[in-house]
């Protein structure tokens, strides 16, 4: 084990800004990418749902 | 009201016409005839103030149009060879924006109605670049439906239109004339438009 306590872990031997800056931005990128894709998927679902609704209405008439 | 006095047009070293005189009253239609290259477009561009006559003067309500500027533009609509539509904007946006820039803002409903009348319903959301030639022309002409101007200057408005659309435009012009509007137009196609007074202007 390299770290005796949490603050030592966060300070990264004085390089905290650089190390955590890298990891946080990477995390943001990855989460952002996943969110963007699922967002795209959800709007598609909504659109298809809409088409589906219209079809149903037409069928009912 | 709209008067041309001794108009002449020179293009390059060629004199296209001279001593053209006419006077157009409310409800009057003027049809400009002539073979290709006889100067019809040149005349119409003068009438709407886009170019200046080599000689003579154009008057609106007895004042020279170049002294009126904005006031004349507020009562006049010109539709020329170019369609004046943006390829990247949708049909709806084109109509609303061009009307707004021409001085009369219209609501989405009004625009929708006009587009339906002119036969573009279902195409409101398409960008103009994917439309057919005749449909583009219709977008340009749709402005006539929503503008509140009295002088319409139309350079071959019927080009690329199908038979149904020609009928539609014919009806539109007749209605405009009936309401006291004025129309100056050219066309190579035969068309009969009923009007209180019709002037035929023949260019050589």
């Amino acid at each position: 084990m390299n770290w005796s306590n949490l603050s030592e872990f966060f300070s990264m031997g004085g390089y905290g800004f650089y190390v955590w800056g890298s990891y946080v931005v990477t995390l943001v990128c990855i989460v952002g990418e996943i969110l963007l894709i699922s967002n795209r998927h959800r709007t598609l679902e909504k659109q298809h749902g809409l088409i589906f609704d219209i079809n149903r209405k037409r069928d009912n008439k | 009201m709209l008067q041309g006095i001794n108009l002449a047009c020179v293009r390059g070293d060629r004199e296209l016409f001279k001593n053209i005189n006419f006077s157009l009253e409310a409800g009057g239609l003027m049809q400009v005839h002539g073979p290709n290259g006889s100067g019809k477009t040149s005349l119409l561009r003068m009438l709407c103030g886009l170019s200046n006559p080599a000689a003579g003067e154009i008057r609106w309500c007895d004042k020279a149009i170049h002294s009126l500027d904005g006031d004349y533009f507020a009562v006049m609509t010109y539709i020329g060879h170019l369609s004046g539509t943006k390829d990247d904007l949708t049909v709806m946006e084109n109509l609303r924006i061009s009307s707004a820039l021409a001085g009369s803002e219209i609501s989405a409903d009004q625009a929708k109605e006009a587009l339906e009348y002119i036969g573009l319903s279902g195409r409101e959301a398409l960008p103009v670049k994917v439309l057919s030639q005749g449909q583009r022309r219709r977008v340009a002409l749709a402005r006539l439906l929503v503008c509140k101007t009295s002088v319409w200057i139309l350079d071959e408005p019927l080009v690329a239109l199908d038979v149904a659309a020609v009928k539609l435009i014919q009806g539109l012009l007749e209605q405009h004339l009936l309401q006291g509007g004025m129309v100056v137009m050219t066309t190579h196609q035969e068309i009969d438009i009923a009007a209180a007074s019709i002037t035929q202007l023949q260019l050589a």
Partner: protein
């Protein structure tokens, strides 16, 4: 066991296949990521030269490798799509580009953050750095071109041409930049002075590389599915899916 691969080259059947296998890769990615980070932060020792700053390596190197590799894969699929007119391969290429660009960006970003403590500057015009930057431009060019074309099939073909031209250029760019730089003995520091790595560091890094692999595969499959849906929304099989309510 023989799999009928041709069956899966149609978007419809690929759609359902991808739906089934994506979670597997996603799961593998998470496991590997956790393992890699654990090794990276808790097992691997402090570097005696660089201190703790070297721990950036666990994302920097995987990202840099993925960025280069994905471009080649993208160009490959785009080329297949252009040559054989297979829709699915072109969709793959389109789906790979954003992920590749993201890894390129991460490599640049982490590199810059590493450079400041190590070299005293965010950026130098060194061969590797410069060619990574140009790689980002190539990705962005590919994506902008595709975004600017409305018709997806035209976009596929146009994108394929630029991707192929780009892939020819990448080695040329890499070597020219390297040569340009060595002729001019300007930069006094270079990434080549990497520390001789401890085994645990190496293991951590490799685990992270595999995690990036799994992540890329999962994300790309998922994005391909979205693209398939977007493009094929008018077709019968999507309508079928809608009826069943299984679009996801």
């Amino acid at each position: 066991m023989s799999i009928n691969w041709f069956k899966y080259s149609s978007p419809a059947s690929f759609y359902s296949l991808a739906g089934k296998i994506t979670p597997i890769f996603a799961f593998a990615a998470v496991i590997l990521l956790v393992a890699g980070l654990y090794i990276g932060f808790f097992v691997a020792p402090t570097d005696f030269q660089q201190g703790e700053a070297y721990r950036i390596i666990f994302i920097h190197v995987p990202a840099a490798w993925m960025s280069m590799f994905l471009y080649v894969v993208m160009a490959f699929w785009a080329g297949i799509g252009l040559a054989f007119n297979t829709r699915l391969s072109s969709m793959f290429a389109t789906a790979i580009a954003p992920t590749g660009a993201m890894f390129t960006f991460i490599a640049l970003w982490t590199g810059a953050l590493w450079g400041k403590p190590m070299w005293g500057t965010w950026w130098v015009w060194d061969a590797r750095l410069t060619s990574e930057l140009i790689l980002l431009f190539l990705y962005i060019g590919f994506m902008s071109l595709q975004a600017a074309i409305d018709d997806p099939r035209r976009a596929d073909k146009a994108g394929a041409i630029i991707a192929l031209v780009g892939v020819v250029n990448i080695p040329i760019i890499y070597f020219s930049v390297q040569w340009w730089n060595t002729l001019h003995q300007g930069a006094s520091v270079s990434v080549n002075q990497a520390p001789s790595m401890a085994t645990t560091m190496l293991v951590g890094m490799l685990v992270m590389v595999f995690a990036s692999w799994m992540y890329s595969i999962a994300v790309i499959l998922k994005r391909t599915r979205v693209i398939i849906l977007e493009r094929e929304s008018h077709t019968a099989w999507v309508a079928e899916l809608q009826k069943k309510g299984t679009v996801q």
